[in-house]
Symmetry: C2
Subunit: 712 residues, 2 copies
């Protein structure tokens, strides 16, 4: 605590001294205050002298019971310090420090004799706290009507937000003052195949904010297991967020039993936006890996028969003749193929060849399995069986061909949100993958959940997503779940959850486009919880050239796309574009070929949410470094130092940058590639176009190799 006086004054404001508790972060910068005031549990968080969370209430509304929100007395409090390191299976670094001071308060609601504990962990980069329900006589099983956690903000901060919704996170971020959320909500709620916004001031986490006095504040949660997803609803007169748990079909928000606990609620805070990205609070608040042998979990790059369907050039469906398919009954050999089916043996082999030639480990194929003719929007329970290929997809032949080329097929399990059907087939589908040597699966939950009434983020469905991950681990299968709940660091515990979508990904560039600054926001929001399968790497921005009926435009320059392989951390990275588009830009494509997907170390060089972001990462398996820098809509000059390099070594840097006239809309493919020699003393000033960026590969080089190459 830098300013003990402020702390003292705050405590006086809180009320009776003997029930007040304070802990500080290990570096003393953050202070967490807890007290009981007039029977209510209240916490507050300060960053130095600045208030991050003003005194805010904690508690619950319980169905058919008294609220568990007041009448509390503090029975006991305990503090503890923790400092340790752990080794992630994959990640932005190979070693993570878990360093915090903890306060555990044990509360008793005297009138009902119910007990509630709250555990706070204060890290240098922020706060995590959770509710704990100890084993007790007066509270065994209970139904949450609402969680009453407040986050009272100290002012009308600028926020990067998406609408609170029970079914989708696939929105563009809106940058606005908190006070402007209400008026901007209508525009922010853009169309989606399944959506259910809940309030005019409701937003989702992770929520990124910036205060007028320069604090960066991020609200999210960690370790969402068997609990409803937490959204936030804003009281826009007081700027106080309150938790808004995702309800089930009858409006209940969670079925709990003691002993148990809520997920952690997190407040990441810094006066430096880069520290938000550095923070590992979210993982640290999750349990260590429950998978003992993790040798089968391998980060990888992949390509896929996918963008051609997303753009509308080809189709997932085999035929246009079937308005209604019955799996096991419909005879596909009797219908006329539509001639646009993407997942044909021939086409897939073309992708396998491309992957093998350019060093991609995986090839994803969507639309390989029967059922796509009526898969969407039909409330069809038995919609896919996950094991039967279309007649033009030679599963064994493709499997063997891929193997002969050293490439692995990536399985695709679209569920159409018929989650019971998926669970019924899960064992067989995973076993089928094992039998055929597919070690990773992209799963999808497009459309409204079956049974109708349920939605994507309720406790019941969160529990399903978790079930699929845990069962996949039994089969040593890596999961990349799309349209599942946004991650909350659970990949620490289940590192086979190698990626999620759970945000507006590249696909929307072919559905009308993403905001040009979208990728400068995502690392501060969606990626706080874990890696995203954003599927970057689109080189051909004019989608009408792929499909004349699609006038979408990819709002990005080509080198911005390259930078994403560094800025959008994921152990699973796709090169999303068509092979023929890459073949037109082989020099730029080299960066995608070179860039690794697993890292020893990461340096956050420049960061401003919504505006720019520059990250340098060191390959886990070499001394090479890679830099990615993305830009928002305003042109900008990035200035970086290479002081992260080993001062003893020399490197050759290949800089892939926007060309002089580059502009995401007018000239996205204008880029310059230059090779220079760099060392730890090098510095770079690099212009970035609107929605542009640059990428640098920095390869350790011998004197010999640097000969004839200019110094930076």
């Amino acid at each position: 605590m830098k300013n003990p006086l402020l702390s003292f004054i705050l405590f006086l404001a809180f009320g009776i001294m003997d029930q007040a508790q304070t802990i500080e972060s290990p570096d003393g910068q953050l202070s967490l205050h807890f007290k009981i005031k007039e029977g209510k549990a209240i916490y507050a968080l300060d960053f130095g002298q600045k208030s991050v969370i003003k005194p805010s209430h904690l508690g619950f509304e319980i169905k058919d019971q008294e609220p568990l929100a007041d009448g509390f007395v503090l029975v006991e409090s305990q503090t503890e310090s923790h400092d340790s390191y752990w080794t992630p299976v994959w990640g932005e670094e190979d070693r993570i420090r878990n360093h915090y001071n903890e306060l555990l308060v044990s509360l008793l609601q005297e009138s009902t004799e119910r007990k509630l504990n709250i555990r706070f962990r204060l890290f240098d980069t922020g706060l995590g706290f959770r509710y704990e329900f100890p084993l007790q006589d007066k509270l065994a099983h209970f139904v949450i009507k609402e969680e009453l956690t407040q986050f009272a903000m100290a002012g009308d901060h600028t926020a990067f937000w998406i609408p609170g919704d029970y079914d989708t996170q696939e929105y563009d971020y809106t940058e606005s003052k908190l006070s402007e959320i209400r008026q901007q909500m209508e525009n922010a709620v853009t169309g989606n195949l399944s959506q259910q916004p809940f309030s005019l001031t409701g937003v989702q986490t992770s929520l990124m904010m910036k205060t007028d006095d320069g604090l960066y504040i991020n609200l999210h949660e960690a370790a969402l297991i068997d609990y409803a997803t937490m959204h936030l609803n804003l009281d826009d007169e007081t700027f106080t967020f309150q938790s808004w748990l995702n309800p089930d079909a009858i409006g209940d928000k969670g079925y709990l039993q003691a002993p148990s606990h809520s997920p952690w609620r997190t407040v990441i805070v810094s006066d430096d936006a880069r520290k938000i990205l550095e923070s590992r609070i979210t993982y640290n608040l999750n349990e260590p890996s429950k998978i003992e042998d993790t040798s089968w979990i391998r980060p990888m790059k992949y390509i896929g028969v996918w963008w051609e369907m997303i753009t509308g050039k080809s189709s997932w469906a085999y035929t246009d003749e079937l308005p209604s398919v019955r799996l096991g009954e419909t005879d596909y050999t009797k219908v006329k193929p539509n001639g646009r089916h993407g997942a044909t043996t021939e086409n897939v082999k073309r992708y396998i060849d491309f992957a093998a030639e350019h060093g991609f480990q995986g090839v994803l194929v969507e639309g390989w399995n029967i059922g796509w003719e009526d898969w969407f929007g039909n409330s069809k329970d038995y919609v896919f069986d996950f094991v039967t290929p279309y007649p033009d997809f030679d599963l064994e032949g493709i499997r063997d061909y891929a193997k002969s080329k050293g490439v692995e097929m990536v399985m695709h399990h679209e569920t159409s949100s018929s989650v019971r059907n998926y669970e019924r087939h899960l064992d067989k589908a995973y076993q089928f993958m094992k039998d055929h040597g597919y070690h990773s699966v992209k799963s999808g939950y497009v459309g409204d959940i079956l049974p109708r009434g349920e939605n994507h983020y309720s406790q019941w469905i969160v529990n399903h997503f978790q079930h699929a991950i845990e069962k996949a681990a039994d089969y040593q299968i890596m999961v990349n779940a799309h349209e599942a709940v946004r991650p909350t660091g659970v990949a620490r515990t289940w590192p086979n959850l190698i990626a999620n979508e759970s945000a507006r990904g590249t696909e929307f560039q072919a559905f009308g486009g993403n905001k040009p600054n979208h990728v400068t926001v995502l690392p501060f929001t969606r990626l706080i919880g874990g890696p995203m399968d954003y599927t970057p790497g689109v080189f051909a921005m004019d989608i009408s050239k792929i499909n004349p009926d699609n006038n979408s435009w990819v709002n990005s320059t080509l080198t911005n796309q390259l930078a994403l392989y560094v800025t959008m951390y994921s152990p699973l990275q796709m090169a999303a574009d068509l092979p023929e588009n890459y073949e037109r830009f082989m020099d730029a494509f080299q960066f995608i070929k070179d860039v690794p997907v697993d890292w020893k170390e990461s340096k956050y060089l420049e960061a401003e949410p919504g505006y720019y972001l520059t990250i340098a990462r060191k390959d886990k398996n070499s001394n090479n470094w890679f830099v990615g820098s993305v830009n928002g809509i305003q042109e900008r000059v990035s200035e970086i130092s290479f002081d992260f390099l080993d001062p003893e070594k020399t490197y050759i840097a290949t800089i892939y940058a926007d060309g002089k006239d580059a502009h995401y809309r007018n000239n996205p493919q204008d880029y310059i590639i230059r090779k220079v020699v760099v060392n730890a003393k090098s510095k770079l000033k690099q212009k970035k176009a609107s929605a542009g960026g640059y990428a640098i590969s920095i390869m350790e080089a011998s004197k010999e190799e640097t000969k004839g190459i200019k110094k930076l």
Copy 2:
């Protein structure tokens, strides 16, 4: 058609002749009329000159589409006759005739170009009809808002009904005029652990009615597969029932895709109540067995550690110390047993000994597996694992002990209506049964369905029940599902569905009692769809003698209980009472030991729903016959002839009858057993007490054996 003139007049009333269709039953007694009138599809059913179903509309309301209920034209009609026999795996006879005349009408709704077919099958004992949705362009996937099937009754009939409800059938039957249903509904809706009545004139099927002019009419459905359960809602001014499909969580009533069809709607009708019981329409309208090798499906009698829990003498739970259990975490070896646990090794062995001594093939044990401390009413998803025994239940030891005694254990799977949890564990649970030699399972669905919002009889849950049956067949497991949807003859197709509860069973005798005439109604209602695990055989009517805190009384005489083994057909019959109670009445218990559970032939000797019922059945594996006769509340003299016996043979009949002073309430254990010689010419007049009855075993005997025994 006995009266062609009537038919002709009816047709004139229907409208344009060229769109009118009529078929008759094979015996000419029933006539079915169909026509399009002002664009509406209308059917009517006559029994001789009597109207059974007055002209009634057919059709659907479809969500987000035009109703599929008018604007029809008749495109085509086809008739067909069918006559064949099939052999049930088990049943009331060993050979069933399937004999009907069929009318298939193909309708087109011209304004929408949607097609709808209706198939009628007219048997001697009634009508079945269903909707068929052919493959077509304009109707592929659709959502049923309501099925608009009418059953217009010809008058204010007397009905035996239970309240229409989305979650339970466990009601006593009310006998009333149709016009009185509304006023009696409130009394009829008695408490249940899960219930959701839907209308003041809503009733369930199978619904039994009697007209003032002596017709018996039964409305039900057959082959309920992947469709919502049909209830009936009465317009009590016109006495017209309309189908009321069971909705899901959002009120939708079914998700269909063409080609498909509805279940069959059945109208069983006769002027002789016995013919209602003889009718095999329900089975005949189901598909033949899908299980090829049925040798493992074996009817059986069983006892169980069950009645002691039902009466409250002992408990399912092992301890009273755990308000909250976490399977896999809660350590049962560390808690204090409550001393009342029924499923202890010692107690189970006592039942095994009793079963072995008295020739019962099976022993059911409830409460053997962990989780019963908090199993009910807690919305607990992971409530049971179906494989882990309590510490005082030695699974292997019991299994081996039973085997050594020639007895087989019956598995118990209470799901607590957490259906997803059950499905997740189904493979393991069934494999566990196989590994341990359990070939049959009693499953249970007590309480509200999880996920909340769903209910017991929606399409989604009907689909679950079916899934459990079909998966059980894969493991060669017989299913006796309690609290599942009432059967609709599906056991023909899946004969491993050996029984259901799905009505108010004997357990309610320990929960305050059933109406004294309950068992005279059930064969006309609940049993129309298939066998019931009614669990008869209670000899000790004063429950307070088992548990002083339970003042329930079993509303039945002892010999009424014996008769149930014949009148309540099931291939699975329990002897429900405690061994110590049977030991007090070993002479009467002999009947339960003797009675078979599978039959060659059945004769319905006397029948009047709500009042009396006498059935004779011939053992499938011998020449022995067994008679059961149950009585309603009024004393009655049953008069039967033994002309069903082989005239060439002589038999010894043991008659177990109410004693002189027998009365279900005052003197239920007053009974007389006498042995007499009978042959095909014998006749019997036998008095039955209030809620009394008699049972007769009729064993083929040699001259030698009959010596010294009086002739009847």
